[in-house]
């Protein structure tokens, strides 16, 4: 009788009305409405990053002063081309705008690459990995009620290096990796978080960053030189600097900007050249990890002891891949898709409706009494998927269960992402639990679950 109710409400409740659930599920999930589309991994990324172009471009959530940096570069270069280039081309050489243009393009491209590239983010540990690490830590005999700070010592090129345990990412950080609190990510070969660029600088984008600051220092020095020459030429013949500035006001603005920025940028370039030559990161330099302050015989174990090789390995080394696979699809949808055989569906759907219904009422009762904690929602999620695909239950249990718990885990850190249907379902049920007992609309919340619970995907979004 309950299944009859569901079937009646089904066409109205769903945005794309279909006669029966089985053919609905048999279609490619992509063709369904928005919540049924397989989600990409960037949509459930736990760190504080923003993604554009369907995951192709990423920035830190706090863009810092990147717009200011871009604005300054564009304004200064624009003024240079408008006010100085025509005069200098007439009086000196036409190479000047060519060189200026080339440098400008180089600067903007490398800036955008530094800002929009994955700096070398390490994906967080899966729950199985985290459990394995916890087991290993416990085995080493730290049975005190207050767990000590978790460190592990490794020997790198005969140098003792301490690896720290990252509580956010639930893993021991590899050497030279640091957790950026602004981006909430562990970044490999973490250099620093640059507010001018609006992103962390790490293993993957350090070469872009270095090229950016070196080319920017050339550009700034070049513009400064050109503007000075321009004003000097205009002021010739006893006309005076004031006259020259009056004739070309843009040059005065450029002069001020370049004068103040050239020293800091040149200084930064010089500092990073030193870091590159000694294969150090800003982080290590500031902390003095290898300067010998902490003890004797402490040397940088990563240096190749040769300036040329250090430079080449940092700047011209192989480009490591991005480890976070932003555009990959979430395995939960895929594995359930492959697990759901279309032949079995009529029986499955009927079964699932009944089981989900009982789960639903159970869940309502539970959620009415308990606060909608994520920990309670996760175990609820697992029986649901087990019921819906009995034939492929090993697959569903073995594969998505880590992913379900991963996505539950991801929800712990991501504030606004809905990953799995069960936790969301519990939350909505808890909101509506007071209305649950008497009102028919309540089963309507369960109805979308039945045909879509095999997906174990977020299917309630259009309902809310």
């Amino acid at each position: 009788m309950q299944s009859c109710e569901y079937q009646q409400i089904d066409p109205q409740a769903l945005p794309t009305p279909t006669p029966t659930p089985p053919p609905h599920h048999g279609n490619d999930v992509n063709k369904r409405e928005e919540p049924k589309r397989p989600r990409r991994k960037w949509q459930v990324f736990p760190g504080k990053n923003r993604f554009y172009c369907d995951g192709r471009i990423m920035v830190a959530r706090e863009s810092g002063v990147l717009p200011l940096t871009l604005g300054l570069i564009l304004i200064t270069s624009g003024l240079f081309f408008i006010f100085d280039c025509p005069f200098l081309v007439k009086h000196l050489t036409s190479c000047i705008p060519v060189i200026g243009g080339g440098l400008f393009v180089f600067v903007v491209i490398t800036l955008l690459q530094t800002s929009l590239t994955d700096p070398g983010i390490l994906p967080r540990a899966t729950p199985d990995e985290a459990a394995d690490i916890e087991k290993q830590i416990d085995n080493t005999g730290n049975a005190s009620y207050r767990p000590p700070p978790r460190t592990k010592e490794v020997l790198i090129n005969q140098q003792v290096v301490k690896l720290k345990y990252c509580f956010s990412c639930k893993m021991f950080r590899p050497p030279r990796t640091s957790h950026c609190s602004l981006c909430d990510n562990c970044v490999e070969r973490f250099d620093h978080h640059c507010p001018w660029v609006g992103n962390c600088v790490g293993k993957r984008n350090y070469r872009f960053f270095y090229t950016f600051i070196v080319s920017l220092s050339f550009l700034t020095a070049f513009i400064f030189g050109c503007v000075t020459t321009h004003l000097a030429l205009r002021a010739q013949g006893g006309k005076g600097l004031v006259f020259a500035v009056q004739e070309s006001p843009g040059s005065a603005v450029e002069l001020v900007i370049c004068f103040f920025s050239v020293w800091s940028i040149l200084g930064l370039s010089g500092f990073h050249t030193y870091l590159v030559a000694s294969n150090l990161t800003t982080n290590e330099d500031i902390k003095g990890s290898w300067s010998g302050k902490s003890g004797e015989g402490v040397t940088n174990p990563y240096s190749h002891k040769n300036i040329f090789i250090n430079c080449c390995s940092v700047l011209c080394g192989p480009m490591p891949p991005s480890l976070i696979d932003r555009r990959g699809f979430l395995p939960t949808d895929e594995s359930v898709q492959t697990g759901g055989v279309s032949i079995e569906l009529p029986a499955l759907a009927a079964k699932s409706e009944i089981n989900v219904c009982t789960q639903g009422t159970k869940g309502l009762l539970e959620s009415a009494t308990l606060p909608p904690l994520l920990s309670t929602s996760c175990p609820q999620g697992k029986p649901q998927t087990a019921y819906t695909c009995p034939d492929s239950s090993p697959a569903v249990n073995s594969d998505p269960s880590p992913q379900l718990s991963t996505s539950c885990g991801a929800r712990h850190t991501a504030s606004s992402r809905d990953n799995t249907s069960p936790p969301r379902h519990t939350k909505t049920r808890s909101k509506k639990s007071k209305l649950a007992a008497l009102h028919i609309p309540n089963p309507s919340f369960d109805v979308p679950v039945s045909p879509t619970s095999p997906d174990a995907g977020p299917s309630f979004i259009p309902m809310h």
Binding site: V105, P123, P174
Partner: protein, 158 residues
């Protein structure tokens, strides 16, 4: 290829996941990608030590090849710098080529050696290059419970 893949699917369908073993990174030579070749105790009854060590050593060699700094990588790096690194948008880097080779190698190892023994290797790239995850499956029909069964409830309940 389709039939072999089918075998792996069958493995997942007919067996239940008993335990997972994680082979950690070996940092003794720096931050280059290397995995420990120490044979984990959980695999003692499942696979020969030499086969396992061969797999890990071959993987380590592949990663060393990908991260080697030499003539070719310098050329690639300098060319990339000259084009303002735009070349990375069009060209597949050497690292990516080697990663494809690794994926193929792991697939092959799984089909030929590990799946028949009820094991499955996960490509390290899917775990952020932190670990090599080896899943241990138990036959559903087998009555004997492995020592990992207690940890099944522990790990899956999390």
């Amino acid at each position: 290829m389709a039939t072999e893949f089918h075998n792996l699917q069958e493995l997942r369908h007919s067996a239940s996941l008993a335990n997972k073993v994680f082979i950690q990174r070996d940092y003794s030579e720096g931050t280059t990608c290397r995995f420990q070749t120490k044979f984990p105790s959980e695999l003692e009854s499942r696979i020969e030590r030499t086969l396992f060590e061969d797999t890990v050593k071959t993987l380590n060699n592949y990663y060393a090849q990908a991260e080697k700094i030499g003539g070719q990588s310098y050329l690639e790096g300098c060319l990339a710098c000259a084009t303002a690194y735009l070349i990375f948008l069009c060209m597949e880097t050497r690292y990516e080529k080697v990663l494809k080779k690794i994926a193929k190698y792991i697939q092959e190892q799984n089909e030929k050696i590990y799946a028949p023994r009820g094991l499955l290797i996960t490509d390290p790239i899917e775990r952020g290059m932190r670990v090599i995850e080896i899943s241990i499956y138990e036959d559903r029909g087998s009555s004997g419970s492995s020592s990992g069964s207690s940890s099944v409830s522990g790990s899956t309940a999390r």
